[in-house]
């Protein structure tokens, strides 16, 4: 049956086999034939707007865009000819005529496609004066910025925003040109997930402060500056240094940060273990005491923003447990600092996050204790890599640090938080213990794993069946909500991550990214968990100590581990 769908084509004289319905570009990429393209992203619908991925087809006149042309039996495809090369050259000249060159702090500085193409096709990048000179930059709160002078109008960001399920970015005609703009509509707002950023081929989007904030970075010696890194970073940051996606570099990461002069490096996965315990307890409490169900996770700040703006009626269903990053920040300032004899005011917590929405999250007033924020600064994975490179610290070459993270090591459960389904799985492991008093024999919940957008499972814990859903991208959360509307009892517990694949596909992660890369990043985290001796949060001795010494008081639990939500008004408007 499968064989029937196979199609043979010839590309540049060599035979290849593909599937019916496959495009020329997709088949070429699969076979590592390079066809330059900008507006093609395997995550998203075909745009066909950049007009670079041109090929010729023997027997047909004209040029064809390989991204939008399907393979046919016996098709003879040519990827390089004088006509193709000329067309690419001219279209690249035109693309450069609308793309302001600011390569120094561009997130594609290391791997810029458009510059590589320019070299390959001998493009005069300054042939035309810049049409977009002086075009404005839109700021999306303190999370993202969009420099429209770099935008090449490919449409991928609008498509990504649509695929996430937000539709905040729009095309609007201004004078003679359509432009990508933040929506002016009152019922539309940005949730700061940053999928526009990771799908922009030319770096028109960046996190706020990327990379100015780390350009002249020096360690503030008057304060105690500590770093903490999110669960997913360990299997993604390697890409910034030429390592394969999914390569686990926990030790190297700690060593590299220490090389910056930072003495204390914390692992947010330890905070995740606390999140897990609190969240499992809340779930059990909600189930036992007939409180609002399903409970939704709330460690994804973009999802929380979505609820607070678009569907505030769901706020009672969000778990009140803070995200691992915020809990860890709180533990550092109010528990660890105290033990060290430090004033929390003199401790600066810098988080390395896979996320741009985390930049927004840390500024939430609800987290403050006596005017002090748990976390002072968020750097994306990319920003840390930029900082390390600027200090000539190469993660690839650095000796793995034997030193473990300050305060202690997390469980495997804390590490898998970085992948879609990880929060759910961790909480289920602990909830099992909470409900039955026993520890799980087999801790894996395979049904909630994987990068698919929507996973569901019925989990038997003791006599109780817990119905769970794990979704990534808001569009899939909407599907859950639609199901709940029909049947309010459809689920007990729902994990939502705004980004494709969860945090390993976050807006602060290395680019480029696609399903293959997300799978590898995710696998890296599960491999760590597999090797871990302790795989359930409640079994972590460090966490036990923290609960014995600090989280033994309701007051402390409340101010470090829990939060509340507030209905949000529109925050982001287009510039006039």
């Amino acid at each position: 049956m499968k064989e029937k769908n196979k199609i043979s084509v010839i590309i540049d004289g060599k035979k290849y086999r593909g599937q019916a319905g496959q495009t020329i570009l997709s088949l070429a990429r699969k076979n590592e034939i390079k066809i330059s393209a900008l507006c093609y992203h395997p995550d998203l619908k075909i745009q066909g707007s950049c007009r670079l991925c041109l090929v010729e087809i023997v027997g047909r006149s004209g040029l064809f865009t390989s991204c939008s042309t399907l393979i046919e039996e016996g098709m003879k495809i040519i990827t390089s000819s004088p006509a193709i090369n000329k067309a690419k050259q001219v279209n690249l000249e035109l693309i450069f005529s609308q793309h302001c060159l600011e390569c120094g702090d561009c997130l594609y500085n290391q791997n810029c496609n458009v510059r590589d193409f320019a070299k390959k096709y001998k493009v005069n990048i300054a042939k035309f004066p810049d049409r977009k000179k002086g075009f404005p930059t839109h700021y999306f709160s303190n999370a993202l910025e969009f420099d429209t002078s770099k935008c090449i109008d490919c449409g991928l960001c609008v498509e990504a925003c649509h695929k996430v399920g937000v539709d905040f970015l729009e095309l609007k005609k201004k004078k003679n040109f359509y432009e990508v703009v933040p929506s002016v509509k009152k019922d539309k707002d940005c949730i700061y997930c940053g999928q526009c950023l990771t799908h922009c081929p030319v770096g028109a989007f960046e996190g706020i402060g990327e990379f100015e904030s780390v350009k002249n970075w020096t360690l503030d010696k008057k304060k105690t500056v500590v770093f903490q890194f999110a669960p997913s970073i360990r299997s993604t940051i390697g890409e910034e240094f030429g390592l394969e996606p999914g390569t686990v570099v926990t030790g190297q990461l700690i060593a590299a940060i220490k090389k910056l002069g930072v003495k204390h490096v914390f692992d947010v996965s330890l905070g995740a273990d606390v999140t897990t315990i609190e969240e499992a307890r809340e779930l059990v409490d909600r189930i036992k005491n007939n409180k609002p169900l399903p409970m939704f996770t709330s460690c994804c700040p973009a999802w929380v923003k979505y609820v607070e703006f678009y569907q505030p009626e769901l706020m009672p269903y969000l778990t009140t447990v803070r995200s691992p990053e915020i809990i860890m920040g709180g533990l550092i300032k109010y528990y660890w600092a105290k033990k060290q004899g430090l004033n929390p005011k003199d401790v600066i917590v810098v988080s390395i996050m896979p996320c741009v929405a985390k930049k927004y999250e840390i500024a939430r007033q609800e987290f403050k204790v006596k005017g002090i924020r748990p976390v002072d600064q968020v750097l994306t994975t990319r920003e840390l890599a930029f900082l390390l490179r600027s200090k000539k610290i190469d993660l690839k070459k650095i000796k793995e640090s034997k030193a473990v993270s300050t305060l202690g090591v997390p469980t495997g459960a804390g590490v898998i938080y970085g992948a879609s389904g990880g929060v759910m799985e961790s909480a289920l492991r602990t909830a099992y213990h909470e409900l039955t008093g026993k520890n799980l024999g087999k801790v894996e919940f395979e049904k909630v794993r994987g990068i698919e957008g929507f996973k569901k499972a019925n989990i038997k814990i003791g006599k109780k069946i817990i119905r769970v859903a794990v979704v990534n991208a808001i569009v899939n959360a909407k599907k859950v909500l639609a199901e709940l509307k029909k049947n309010p009892q459809a689920y007990d517990y729902v994990e939502v991550m705004a980004c494709f694949g969860g945090c390993i596909g976050g807006g602060g992660q290395p680019v480029p990214v696609d399903d293959e890369i997300r799978k590898k990043r995710s696998q890296g985290l599960y491999n760590i968990d597999k090797k871990h001796k302790i795989r359930s949060a409640q079994q972590n001795p460090v966490v036990k100590t923290i609960y014995k010494e600090f989280l033994n008081q309701e007051k402390n639990i409340h101010r470090v581990c829990h939060t509340y939500f507030r209905k949000k008004k529109k925050e982001v408007y287009p510039l006039k």
């Binding site: 007009r51 067309a87 001219v90 042939k127 090449i152 003679n176």
Partner: protein, 326 residues
């Protein structure tokens, strides 16, 4: 089977689409008939966004019953709950809606008001409009006849085409077309004349043959080709419009600036060559400074790499005007 005979008749007649692309009508109708679906759409395209072209409005005004008869023939080839549209630009809609609806009666034909401009006449953009989506073309293939409005097979023909289909069904098709004659013409208007008439014959038989030094723009007031007096043995192309210019009194730069402003305003900015290419072409025309190599480069990418027909059509008027008028 009676109604399927129309396709054979269309084939014998040799009728080609009158929207400008000259695609054999019977092939489109056959593909529409062959497409498998329990609901299909039919659209009579009266977007008529091309400047200096008035034939569609002429037909809607003078032969609405024939237009509707043409649509009815297509409906007879379609599944039961199929629907047809008469897709009209704003001003035509305002003028003719009521009258058309009277003739339509109970037939499943809706008179649709187009919101956009020039590009909205492009058939995939038309589908977008009817679905109330952004006015930008879709990737082809699939063609609307396979996947059109709401994913359904959609037959889109120009209003004039439907008129002729009705004539063919009645056995009254005389191999004519509707020519719009404007500009410095003595008798401006729309004229139904034989298809095989040369430009010269058209001008003479309508009393419009210029007595002054002139040139023509044929096939559309923006996308048409510049034709010199020595070339008038040719036939009319595109939308069948002819604009007569007084050579003495026409500044080719002003003329070209008008066209390029039109294209820049009306294009959708989706693809690189059309968005940026028309912008750079405009700069050259505005500054009256044409660098031949750059110009040819722009023409090359516009013709060969534009997403839709609009970008491809931009080249002809400028190439002919620059060659023949400068």
């Amino acid at each position: 089977m009676k109604n399927k005979n129309i396709i054979a008749k269309l084939k014998t007649s040799g009728l080609k689409g009158r929207g400008g692309a000259d695609f054999p009508t019977y092939l489109k109708w056959q593909a529409f008939l062959d497409a498998n679906s329990d609901k299909k759409y039919i659209v009579a395209n009266g977007s008529e966004g091309e400047p200096a072209t008035l034939k569609d409005s002429y037909i809607v005004k003078n032969y609405p019953a024939d237009l509707i008869a043409g649509l009815k023939l297509a409906l007879e080839l379609s599944p039961k709950n199929s629907q047809a549209f008469i897709y009209l630009r704003k001003d035509y809609y305002k003028k003719y809606k009521k009258h058309l609806e009277k003739i339509i009666g109970n037939l499943p034909i809706t008179v649709f008001r187009e919101k956009g401009g020039y590009l909205s006449g492009e058939e995939t953009t038309l589908c977008q409009e009817i679905e109330n989506k952004i006015q930008r073309p879709r990737i082809k293939p699939p063609y609307p006849v396979q996947v059109g409005i709401h994913g359904r097979p959609t037959l889109i023909n120009n209003i004039e085409t439907f008129y002729h289909v009705a004539q063919i069904a009645k056995g009254q098709y005389k191999k004519t077309r509707f020519y719009t004659i404007l500009g410095k013409a003595l008798h401006k208007g729309v004229f139904e004349l034989p298809l095989d008439y040369s430009l010269e014959k058209i001008l003479k038989s309508t009393g419009n043959f210029p007595t002054f030094d002139y040139f023509l723009q044929v096939g559309g007031g923006a996308s048409g080709e510049i034709i010199l007096p020595k070339e008038i043995k040719r036939k009319a192309t595109g939308s069948g419009s002819i604009v007569i210019y007084d050579k003495e009194k026409t500044d080719p730069w002003t003329l070209m600036l008008g066209w390029i402003n039109f294209f820049m305003k009306e294009n959708c900015d989706k693809c690189t060559p059309c968005r940026e290419g028309t912008y750079r072409l405009r700069e050259m025309i505005r500054d009256q400074k044409i660098d031949k190599k750059s110009l040819e480069d722009l023409f090359f990418v516009l013709e060969n790499t534009s997403f839709c027909a609009l970008g491809k059509m931009v080249v002809l008027p400028f190439r002919s005007a620059i060659k023949k008028l400068l």
